[in-house]
Symmetry: C2
Subunit: 214 residues, 2 copies
């Protein structure tokens, strides 16, 4: 991935909000719990939400072997992946200058089916750890049947960009005198508190790696 902007990922609108730096892009991919993957078949675009992990310069996704997205991604067809974290609605004094504070990344690449068992298991581990660090070692590992029913795809980050906005609204000079309340309406996203399965054997203690969510 180059730090300059290739064609597919060059940001035309408000380019000062853009970055092509892999560290910036990786940080947003790592912070987002889910991504949206786009593909096309016979000119028809599809977009599907799924969980993911970033491992090196690839985005990993997984799912049932029979899923349309995974079967298509395994062919090596071009894909686009977006992650978006919404931070706030920007309430400006004018309708026109309303905006969002957000961090987003868009990736272009192609998929590769992980068929080496060790690499595939490492991919499953990465996706699990991306969501809940520590969970993999605690829960029961996949059986052979479960392992075989799952596909893991690594999407190369061939081109990528990210975009973000933060801070207060920017209004036209003459609008600051308007009697309109202006500022941010933040979106707080917090994990927890944990809700124990009300079913059988609910007396298991909360493990250390989940304690911060209790």
């Amino acid at each position: 991935m180059s730090k300059s902007a290739p064609n597919r990922s060059r940001l035309k609108r408000i380019p000062e909000r853009a970055s092509y730096n892999p560290d910036d892009i990786h940080a947003i991919l790592d912070a987002a719990p889910i991504c949206h993957v786009a593909f096309q078949v016979d000119g028809q675009p599809f977009v599907i939400p799924t969980i993911h992990a970033r491992l090196g310069n690839e985005v990993l996704i997984h799912g049932a072997k029979a899923s349309r997205l995974l079967k298509h991604a395994a062919t090596g067809a071009p894909l686009s992946v977006a992650v978006t974290i919404l931070d706030a609605i920007v309430l400006a004094r004018s309708v026109f200058h309303h905006s969002m504070n957000y961090r987003s990344a868009v990736v272009f690449g192609t998929g590769r089916l992980l068929d080496d068992p060790e690499e595939k298991m490492a991919g499953m581990l990465a996706i699990s750890e991306h969501l809940v660090k520590g969970r993999w070692d605690d829960a029961r590992a996949p059986s052979e049947k479960e392992f075989n029913a799952t596909s893991v795809i690594a999407i190369s980050i061939d081109e990528a960009s990210c975009k973000s906005r933060s801070g207060p609204p920017g209004d036209e000079d003459e609008d600051y005198a308007l009697p309109v309340w202006a500022g941010l309406l933040p979106l707080r996203q917090e994990w927890g508190p944990l809700e124990a399965d009300p079913g059988r054997h609910s007396d298991v203690a909360i493990p250390d790696y989940l304690e911060s969510f209790a």
Copy 2:
């Protein structure tokens, strides 16, 4: 939009989680603050996050007239729109049965540029109200120049489906005896508290329609 499942939107995986009911689909489109729109050019898929509103059986998006997404959508090319609300990580006793609680909708349709000024203004109003009800009447209305610099696209909901999961994990019978904590890790998403613009004229009182976010 029909209540039966046409081909593009038929859900193949875990179909019991799916619905093709317009009311269910509209409710998820209305609840999500942003959407992801996919389109394709010469076989290359693109996916872009943007704010939206649902008005009748259309999804409205808007942006700068020069934006790649809006210019492409205005041609009437096929589009796909996804909205996804993540509610919880489902922590099962086995890695394999880990899941997400979520509500998602995927729409297939084509875009139509709103060039009638009244319909275009109504579209802008709908997108504004979708984010913050009451804001439109308070903030300064778009000037002619601002109005002309903005495009609004209505995407027909020609085919759509939604999918959701809720409730506790579902494990294999023999796994319930494992000493693994199981349950939900909810993702709470809450708007607020408001952060006033620290800039000029920050003495304007918080209006009624924002008071619940104070």
